[in-house]
């Protein structure tokens, strides 16, 4: 899938089109997370579906390498997307939860593209600016 096909508005729909293997994760997460069967936003959908699917797969004894490569390729596309809000979803709602867990990060590293790695490095090494807490 090309980045031109994806926008901030349709990115959850495109996620399922590109990765139909995540449909079961999506339906389960939607039922558990939202009361009215509609996502409150793209950040929530991506964190509940994509980041949780990645975490679950990486914890498996025999991860589905093919699917993991496919997911991280899609994530890399989002991280390089021209639309800033799309990048924010990749950064805040997929990379942050993955990178905040050391074991997950360790296992995920080999599947990551360069921009995704760059996001994770920025997240892990970030320190509050002077004056902030």
């Amino acid at each position: 899938m090309n980045s031109e096909d994806v926008s901030f508005q349709n990115m959850t729909q495109k996620l399922l089109e590109a990765l139909p293997e995540l449909t079961s994760y999506h339906d389960r997460a939607l039922a558990a997370s939202e009361n009215d069967g509609e996502w409150s936003g793209q950040h929530i959908a991506y964190e509940e579906v994509m980041s949780k699917a990645i975490k679950e797969m990486l914890r498996a004894e025999q991860p589905d390498e093919r699917l993991l490569h496919k997911i991280f390729d899609f994530l890399e596309m989002l991280a390089k997307h021209p639309e800033e809000h799309v990048q924010e979803v990749a950064h805040n709602s997929v990379c942050e939860p993955i990178c905040s867990d050391e074991l997950t990060l360790q296992r995920a590293r080999k599947y990551m593209g360069p921009t995704t790695k760059d996001f994770c490095k920025a997240i892990v090494t970030w320190e509050p600016p002077a004056g902030g807490r």
């Binding site: 997370s33 936003g41 950064h91 805040n92 939860p97 905040s100 997240i123 970030w126 600016p129």
Partner: protein, 375 residues
Amino acid sequence: MSLNRALEGAPGDSTLRLSLGHNYLEKKDFAGALAAANEVLRTDPDNKNAKSLKYQSTGRVAPSEGGSTTPSPTRQEATVAANTGSQVTFTDQAKHKPISVDVPGAVEDAPSPKDGKPLPLWPLAAPIGAGLIGYGIYRNQRTTWGANEPLDTPAELTDEQIAGSRKKLKFAALAGGVLLGGAAIATFGPAVVTGVEAFFLSAGPIAGGLVPAYASGVGAGAAASTLNPVTVAAGAETLGATVVLVGEAKVASDYYSYSKSRRESGSSTQQPIGQETGASSNLKKPSAKDPQLKNTIDRLFRESDQLRGGTAGAVRSESQTGLATGRKFHAIKAQENISNLQKILRRTNLDPVDRATAEALLSDLQNALKASVKP
């Protein structure tokens, strides 16, 4: 003494021997009284009067032993001749026959290193317990009066969470005090009966509070000092350990109390929590029973967060510094989670504690976003 003569004729008469023992006790001849009590208990271990006499005379030292050179008349008849630690041998001068009696508590009670005379262990429990209770009353009064001082930047907590935490802390303080008291007794030796009296004397005029708790320890120590320095150490160590533990519990309790008072005053005289600094939120990651709310909290707060306040803290930092958190800004994520929290709050079956938590999170995110759009 007529009782002695009567006993010569009936040495097994426990009533006569106990009467003699009480005579000794009245004359502060505690060793004599103890010997009489033990003699009766040897043949009648369940004799309540003998047990009572034994209790009253155990571990006490007659003034005459402290320096008087004139022994009491009774001591002329029954005098301590040797103390071997577990046994005290008396010489009954009327018969010139040594009587060996067990020193109560010599084996099971920790002996005093100074003179080998054991002291009862249980009386220390009374001043400790009473002191802790007094402190508990003090804490309650202090909370009721609202005399809480800021200790640190606390978390926003619900009333139920605050009340629950306070109860747990009080229980922990009481239980810990009792445990520490027991440990101190076991380590340093027994306390004195007079400590109990000292507590009641000191606590009487001052109704409930830290002062009686403190005075009970001081009183016990002062009373003990007239008898044995080891008991002073025991009392002081126990009191100190208890005060430290209760003090720590108090600090933690004040933390929660301050959080409550701050929130209450914030609704009338102060700005809502999280808005006052403009720089960052004070919210720490709360807990929730509701799975949807818990999920939302997990999205807003990460274990590795460098900023307080989770996503709201990130939004505040970004608006203040103009710099992203990590590589990206978080305002859109905050807005989406506001919508999600509003959905959760529309539910009628939400637990009241969870509702308060969701409202606090919603308010914090809204305040953070308001600050971020200010010119």
